[in-house]
Symmetry: C2
């Protein structure tokens, strides 16, 4: 997953506040403090999948950080402009508090939100990753716990950078919090299958509440699969024979090996993969 997610490095196009540009004001608070949020949207056929969920999460993040949210129509128009006729792409949207009005951490309140849209090529994923699964390790780096930031897809991502730098030959790594709770993969959310039931970590202390995680929760509910969102620990993981990962780009990927122990690609994982495929197919945007 890591390799296939990271191969396309240079954006094909960038729009900053509606203007084609590849340069950002160096005084932007994203540069100094990571003072902003982002969304990474899958556009396998040109239009963003789960756009409503992405924009809703962004709006919630802006509210929690007291960043003025960009207008939804303006964002919609700029997203269309970036994806129109592009074929498959990955669209990254970064929203920052804006250029610093004053020096120092304290926001002035007069900052003007910066919108950055970056278009990358659609990654040509090996279908085996979705079918047969990915190799996963347990990350050595843990996630700091802070309810003030939990759930947000904010720009403070050094923990993920350090964990990803340490991936070596694995596709992804499971991250635990400082207090020992399972939280997520570096770039994905995680589900454990426990009999006919799904378990996924609560994200009230750290972690990102992924849009694909939400889509899976909804799909599971529609399928009558019981889901528990709760504190999970290493013992819960050790007991699991079926685990899968989710994110907006990859959808659902089974874990085939965790720390050298083989896992099963099981029936619940397959069923959810199939339902999501149907859903996107019906929506005219197959995965």
């Amino acid at each position: 997953m890591a390799d296939s997610l990271t191969r396309e490095g240079t954006p094909q196009a960038v729009l900053i506040d509606g203007r084609e540009s590849t340069e950002l004001a160096v005084s932007d608070r994203a540069v100094h403090y990571g003072d902003g949020l982002f969304e990474t949207m899958a556009c396998p056929q040109g239009s963003p999948r789960l756009l409503g969920s992405h924009l809703a999460r962004l709006a919630e993040g802006c509210a929690r950080l007291a960043i003025r949210a960009p207008g939804r129509e303006l964002l919609g128009a700029e997203i269309s402009r970036m994806t129109q006729g592009s074929g498959g792409c990955v669209l990254k949207l970064i929203v920052t508090r804006g250029t610093a009005v004053t020096r120092g951490y304290r926001p002035d309140g007069g900052e003007k939100t910066t919108r950055i849209l970056l278009r990358y090529g659609w990654p040509s994923y090996d279908p085996a990753l979705e079918r047969d699964g990915v190799r996963v390790r347990t990350a050595r780096v843990r996630l700091g716990e802070n309810p003030a930031l939990a759930g947000l897809k904010h720009l403070n991502r050094l923990e993920q950078v350090l964990a990803a730098a340490d991936l070596s030959d694995a596709d992804e790594a499971l991250m635990y919090s400082g207090s020992g709770a399972l939280i997520a993969g570096i770039m994905s959310n995680v589900f454990l299958v426990d009999g006919a039931m799904l378990l996924t970590p609560q994200l009230d202390a750290c972690g990102v509440a992924g849009v694909m995680r939400s889509a899976v929760l909804q799909t599971a509910a529609a399928e009558g699969i019981h889901v528990e969102i709760r504190r999970l620990v290493a013992d819960d993981v050790a007991r699991s024979r079926e685990i899968f990962l989710t994110n907006a780009l990859i959808g659902i990927r089974p874990v085939r090996v965790l720390d050298d122990a083989p896992l099963t690609v099981g029936a619940v994982t397959r069923r959810l993969q199939e339902r999501l495929r149907q859903r996107w197919s019906a929506a005219g945007a197959p995965p």
Copy 2:
């Protein structure tokens, strides 16, 4: 402190990788992940105070984040270029892992470190802040704990942004960790005076190991003042009648009010202020 620290917003000059520019490549990993470090240097008479400490901390941060450290001579030359004939200024140095080679958290290893130098006007501090002290509150936002990042002056600063946004009429706020340890002010380190002894928080789980904190520790040692660096909690703070804050710009500032309770500007604080003044005066760079 907040107001006087944040008034001068727009840099007078910016140097990016040795080139005068106010724009940064939008693909720089500082923008996407806060993947870098910074130093804020006081240059009250044009040359940076504690330059050696700043560059040593930066080098240690680069090593811990596996960012290629810029050469010290190159940095020294660029710092001279930025401060020459400038009179008093604040010099901010940001070092990032560089422009993304690949998409995603994982560093490629082939990134070229970005150096950003920003020169701001020297703030005209009210001398009363150093003499009579500052108003301090207890921050509601806590600091997440992560030994992998503890001590570093990295670019993931949303916790400080949120706490600073919440300062209202206070000059500074004391921050505690998630587990209840006193860590620091939002933009300063903190010392408690306990009889003839100094106490300051250990920074092995979070916080920034400030260069002025180091200077105070050295000065205290030279003065024969015993210092304990250990876990401190709210009870330790409540017992203290003499507290002071430090950072590279402000030096030492007494706390005159903490959460509406008046504190004493005491003899230990005065003595350390005086010794630092003498030291800088002797070095030709008075505060």
